[in-house]
């Protein structure tokens, strides 16, 4: 009888080691890094990117690369800002309006990609250009300063959670719900199945098109929430907001162990740890006085390292695949 021994999997833990080393390094390098003020403000300012990473992970799990996520967030934020500022719409309604727009774009995306079978990269790239432009048209490319209502929400803290910022509660909730959906619902399992082998999924009676459409709409919806959160944390709608965040989000997801080809990944720890690694690298480098021009260089380098670690992991898998 052959027994399958459980081996200690170093690769799946590499991210934690790396993150711990990162925190340790910056904490030793500068006193202000490891303070609750810095940590909370970094997380709060990074909330949009964590959420966009979460959204894009949904699409990636189904094997779709959605490049429109950051633009969706931007457009939702713009609409939300305009509704409050120019049309005196109440704040909750404006939020819903922004998220509604995002869901609508998600529907169009899935219509084009799933129904009309257009190439996913080019479709979402086109969509990114179109909705960036829409955002600029409705704001006339001007910065909109939000009123006191928004800054109150930004400063809101949840008392019984130890004064946890309300914005971060949204992030945590989205992450937890996403992970539960992925791991413990039929939809989540079907999502993994479709990303893993679409043909096989179809043959056992799953409808891949339906799953992919839901994944794309969810992806856009969460990006819409990210847009609203972006307006809240910034207190204004700025031009060129969330610029090129789609790539940071995809890199974060991959850094967190999500496959670019679908069928492998997670929200917690995956998307979460991936995005905060990139966030705290930028933050730490800024604190120790590295020039802002150099920071993207480091981010890029980290992505290379992550990809290398990922390829080591797949290589280990492949070795096992030839077993027997």
């Amino acid at each position: 009888m052959i027994k399958s021994k459980k081996r200690f999997d170093y690769f799946s833990l590499s991210n934690y080691f790396f993150f711990a080393a990162l925190i340790l390094f910056f904490s030793l390098a500068n006193d202000t890094f490891f303070t609750s003020t810095n940590i909370f403000s970094t997380l709060q300012n990074g909330a949009p990117i964590i959420l966009i990473t979460c959204g894009v992970t949904f699409a990636l799990l189904a094997g779709i690369m959605d490049l429109s996520v950051a633009a969706v967030g931007y457009a939702s934020g713009c609409l939300c800002g305009i509704l409050i500022k120019n049309y005196d719409v109440s704040i909750p309604l404006a939020f819903l309006g922004g998220i509604g727009l995002a869901l609508l774009i998600g529907c169009i995306n899935s219509l084009l990609i799933v129904k009309f079978k257009l190439n996913m990269m080019l479709t979402t790239l086109g969509m990114m250009l179109v909705i960036r432009s829409i955002g600029k048209i409705i704001t006339q490319d001007r910065t909109i300063l939000m009123g006191s209502g928004i800054s109150e929400i930004r400063q809101a803290k949840i008392g019984f959670l130890g004064d946890f910022p309300a914005v971060l509660v949204v992030v945590v909730l989205v992450l937890i719900i996403s992970q539960i959906v992925l791991k413990y619902t039929s939809f989540g399992r079907h999502l993994m199945a479709v990303g893993s082998n679409e043909k096989a999924a179809k043959n056992i009676g799953i409808y891949p098109d339906r799953i992919k459409a839901i994944a794309l709409i969810t992806c856009s919806g969460i990006s819409g929430i990210a847009g609203v959160v972006w307006v809240i944390t910034l207190g204004s709608v700025v031009t060129r907001g969330l610029n090129s965040y789609e790539f940071i989000a995809i890199a974060s997801a991959v850094l967190g162990g999500t496959s670019l080809f679908g069928g492998r990944g997670s929200f917690i720890p995956g998307s979460f740890i991936g995005s905060i690694i990139l966030l705290f690298i930028a933050n730490g480098l800024t604190i120790i006085g590295v020039s802002p021009y150099v920071i993207p260089f480091f981010r890029g380098a980290i992505i290379f390292i992550a990809m290398y670690a990922d390829s080591l992991k797949t290589r280990a898998h492949r070795k096992l695949a030839t077993a027997f």
């Binding site: 009888m1 052959i2 399992r189 079907h190 199945a193 043909k199 043959n203």
Partner: protein, 503 residues
Amino acid sequence: MENGLTLEIHNLKKSFPGVQALKDVSISARDGEILGLIGVNGAGKSTLMNILGGVVIPDSGEILINGEIKRIKDPATAEKLGVAFIQQEIQLFENLTVQENIFIANLKKWRAFKNFPFLNLKSMAGEANNLLALLGCDIDVHSMVSDLAVGEQQMVQIARALSQGGKILLFDEPTSSLTLKEKQNLFKLIGKLKGSNVIIFYISHHLDEIFEICDRVVVLRDGGVAGEGRVEDISKDEIIRFMLGHEIEQSIEYRKQPHQKKVLEVRNLCGERYPKDVSFSLAKGEVLGIWGLLGSGRTELVRTILGLDKKKSGEVLFGENGELQSINPQNLYKHIGYLTEGRHFDGLFLNMPIWQNITSVFLKKFVTNKFKLLNEREEKQAAKHSISQVNVSAVSENMLVRKLSGGNQQKIAISKWFIKKPKILFLDEPTKGVDVGAKAEIQNLIFKMASEGVSFIIISSEIEEIMGLSDRIIVIHQGELVNELGTMQISKENLMKSVIGRN
């Protein structure tokens, strides 16, 4: 020492995480010998071939070719040493032509001018034609590989191995996707090669094939040599005993007569190309065989019924208690299961663990609480039970499916349907690549489920299998239903007569 080619394998060992795939295997062979290699799934056959082919590096042990120790560290080295490995799964470049595929490994040889990278396509075509003629198959060397049938692709793969001038040929189940005629051509060729100073390893689950073409047979079990002998001196039963370590349990269960109630009826079904105007019905608890040669449209018939291929006209009716009603594929899928032929390609989620693969077909069963969340523990338990039914008990249900051997993957692919217990199970080649022991288990399970009222539609290329399983057989030829044989009429002659002479 003689002059001819010799191959010796001494004390080869190889372990993978959690599994000792080969423990101390020694085999020797000499020129002109055809060595049959058999064993149950996971016995170590493929590992042994992968080591000779340079795909896998052994932990210890030696390989001697012509008395010299050789280290085969990668496939390129293997090729230089004259080892040609014809793998079971087709590995060709779909978007290249047949001749390009045949010579892809040594295109340099085919340069028109010595130092310019232009290819002499004409002489390539000539040589490719020669090779294919040797194999007795008639394929246009300029056609795209993606346009060929699976059997033809396998032939191209064999031609490629031959073009490399291999002295040691490794065939890993080469006949699993060949038609009868192609198979006979291949055997003829192997017979020819035998005379020309080569060593041939031949892996197969079909004992008949081993007896037909091999000189000697080596039986592997649990990573070691369990027995060997010349084919004249060894009997089938002995081989099976070596393979399993015990006798096969021939539990021929008493089969209940199928019910009279119909569960499925197909009326005048037409697809894009195949099927052509096919009508038949299926009773509750009945095992219906669909027999036909490769490319006859038998798979297309099933796929059209299930709505996976486009239906042009015709009707599919389904009913649980005898009252048939027209049904669309989406609703039909709720009551059926479908096991595809190409398990790697479209039957399994290789990156997912065994238990998720098994429960994927019937997640509804594991949604227990009010939040509609899945109960992982129950899922794992059910998966465990279901894999023990087909004897994959040696592994944990948490293992990724990609880590399993081909035969074990097939067992997972089929065992997942035992959880759903559908009304009708469509099985396309249910025991392809599965060892003798598991074959018997799968067949017994089919009988057991049939007597519990599950209906089966089974496609198999193996004439004995389909004869043994089916209550009734319909014969498909060029997309049309050409014959129907009841229990009393099922015989090899009748089946072959139905399709031969119609070409």
